[in-house]
């Protein structure tokens, strides 16, 4: 999938390795999880009801559309979570895993 975000700054910042759907990827120091994922792909999750793809919307932690699943089924809000080395995310396949209070 085509990356959604285009980096304009911090392009040569220290690399931060992470895993996306089992494949190794590189983010940059100072990235949110959202920036890291959308700089290399075009989506963050699929919805529980219709299964349509989503890639965030508000970027300020209000819409909750950027919840990203981790391999242990826990979720992070991608726009307000800093990327850390070794993080792993699953953005394809069955979603709608439980964990939040409004599920």
């Amino acid at each position: 999938m085509m990356p959604q975000f285009i980096r304009r700054y911090r392009r040569d910042e220290e690399p931060v390795p992470f895993t996306l759907n089992g494949s190794p990827e590189i983010g940059r120091r100072g990235d949110t999880v959202m920036t890291a994922i959308l700089s290399v792909s075009g989506g963050l999750r699929h919805t529980e009801f219709t299964g349509e793809s989503r890639a965030g919307f508000c970027l300020i932690g209000a819409c909750q559309d950027c919840l990203v699943t981790m391999p242990d089924s826990s979720r992070v809000r991608a726009c307000t979570t800093a990327l850390a080395p070794g993080m792993a995310f699953v953005t394809t396949g069955p979603q709608g895993l439980k964990g939040g209070c409004h599920d």
């Binding site: 999938m1 085509m2 959604q4 975000f5 285009i6 980096r7 304009r8 700054y9 911090r10 910042e13 120091r29 100072g30 990235d31 949110t32 920036t35 959308l38 700089s39 075009g42 989506g43 963050l44 919805t47 009801f49 219709t50 349509e52 793809s53 989503r54 890639a55 965030g56 919307f57 508000c58 970027l59 300020i60 932690g61 209000a62 819409c63 909750q64 559309d65 919840l67 307000t80 800093a82 964990g99 939040g100 209070c101 409004h102």
Partner: protein
């Protein structure tokens, strides 16, 4: 007396910072709770790490204000109890004090307050149209945040749509950052811009900046169209373009991202949980906490300031923050400079009068739902379509937003109505042929944002999730 006084400020944008500065000057040590990583709020949001950009590059015309506010806050930090990355999700017992339930880096806590100053800011006000949930469609504020805080553009080739000064500013910022700006689609008619003439003598800087962005976009060959209504986003899994109407014409533009919005929407959930009385505000088309000239709410020792108490922008927020702090100081029986309060009230009033004009120049599209098809998603969390909401309204004879929520699930999802409540109220009032005020106010519920449910208490009132 000060030993038993514990003011808590929620939010560290211009209002929260303005309030904290004044409280510290009065010898108080407020707790400042901030959902962000670093103080600044949304407009003066700071990046996670220094990315080598200057204030000028990052904040443009607002660079000096941003730098001054950041420096002011950084100087304050030793004199306050600053807690970043802290979500306040509940307000309890507000009979002259109470406590907040907060979640901070996975730890649950209760924080007691004697005085609560809410500076909770705003989110973009959005309206649904076919494809608004597609990857690549973002709010105008989101587009700006991506650039400001992360140094990214939310696409390579973009269309900007909506109503408000932010529309032109963000389009210009993206052009400067090297993105390809295909068009600016203003949903307001060109004739509405004539109102800006009356703003010229009152706020020449706003007009000069607006003209500058508009002229620079035009000179770069960016199309600016007025009176636009979207037909649909083109593309199933991503944005490939947008189809829209302008006058009698239907046009299509290719792009891989759309940023849109219709001014802002106040974040009022905590004021609601604190038991504050609300009133309907015609300018914002929203229910807002009642406040006196300084920012006192109907609840003793609870204050509101900034966009969370009504949309007026960063400059007004800073003034309002200081005003609310003066009210708090006054309520403690301490003297403060009455002249300062009078100055601030006058300056704040001038900005509100400018807002009246801006609202006319960048009008809210009241006819929006007349042309949006029923298959369009109204609630993006629960994925409820306009047709489903209409069916519920008609079969259950719904005329109030909380009933609409209960019976159709619109506004019941993770965002707690942040992205759909304004639209749902507009839609319901349109179906019922009444003013938005008549359909009531969506009541806030704790937790105001999703929090992990599975946590165990670790003792001393703390719990780890």
């Amino acid at each position: 007396m000060t030993e038993t006084v514990q003011p808590v400020i929620v939010g560290a944008g211009p209002a929260g910072i303005g309030a904290a500065e004044r409280l510290v000057k009065a010898g108080l040590r407020p707790i400042v709770l901030d959902e962000g990583f670093r103080a600044g709020g949304q407009i003066y949001r700071r990046p996670l790490i220094d990315d080598g950009r200057s204030y000028r590059n990052r904040y443009g015309s607002e660079a000096k204000k941003a730098e001054r506010l950041h420096r002011a806050f950084d100087r304050l930090v030793p004199s306050i109890d600053y807690r970043p990355e802290t979500l306040v999700w509940n307000v309890a017992d507000t009979d002259r004090g109470g406590h907040l339930d907060v979640l901070s880096r996975g730890i649950h806590r209760e924080i007691a307050f004697t005085h609560l100053l809410l500076a909770t800011g705003a989110t973009d006000r959005v309206l649904p149209f076919p494809g608004w949930t597609r990857p690549g469609v973002y709010t105008l504020g989101a587009a700006q945040t991506a650039l400001k805080a992360q140094g990214c553009t939310v696409g390579e080739k973009l269309v900007f749509m909506g109503s408000g000064p932010l529309l032109y500013l963000v389009a210009w910022q993206y052009m400067k950052a090297g993105a390809s700006v295909e068009a600016v689609l203003d949903t307001g008619p060109l004739s509405s811009k004539a109102h800006l003439i009356s703003l010229l003598p009152r706020a020449p800087r706003i007009i000069a900046l607006g003209l500058f962005y508009g002229v620079q976009l035009k000179l770069a060959g960016v199309r600016i169209l007025y009176g636009v209504r979207p037909e649909a986003i083109i593309g199933e899994e991503r944005v490939d373009g947008i189809r829209f109407r302008v006058g009698d014409q239907i046009e299509t533009l290719q792009c891989n991202a759309l940023a849109y919005g219709f001014a802002l929407r106040a974040e009022t959930q905590l004021a609601d949980l604190a038991g504050c009385r609300f009133r309907f505000d015609e300018r914002d088309r929203a229910w807002l906490p009642e406040r006196d000239a300084l920012g006192r709410t109907s609840r003793p020792q609870v204050y509101v300031a900034g966009d969370g108490s009504g949309i007026a922008g960063a400059d007004a927020a800073e003034l309002a923050g200081e005003l609310a702090a003066l009210a708090l100081i006054e309520d403690l029986g301490k003297a403060h400079g009455g002249d300062r309060a009078r100055q601030l009230i006058a300056a704040h009033g001038r900005i509100l009068r400018q807002r009246d004009i801006l609202e006319k120049a960048f009008p809210f599209p009241r006819d929006w739902f007349e042309t949006v098809p029923g298959t369009t998603m109204l609630c993006r969390c629960e994925e409820i379509s306009i047709s489903e909401a209409r069916l519920a309204i008609e079969t259950e004879n719904i005329s109030e937003v909380n009933r609409l929520k209960a019976l159709s699930r619109v506004g019941m999802g993770r965002c707690q109505g942040r992205m759909c409540s304004a639209a749902a109220a507009e839609f319901l009032s349109g179906v019922r042929k009444v003013e938005p005020e008549a359909v009531g106010r969506l009541r806030a519920q704790a937790p105001v944002k999703p929090i992990p449910l599975t946590f165990g208490v670790t003792g001393e009132g703390e719990a780890r999730s």
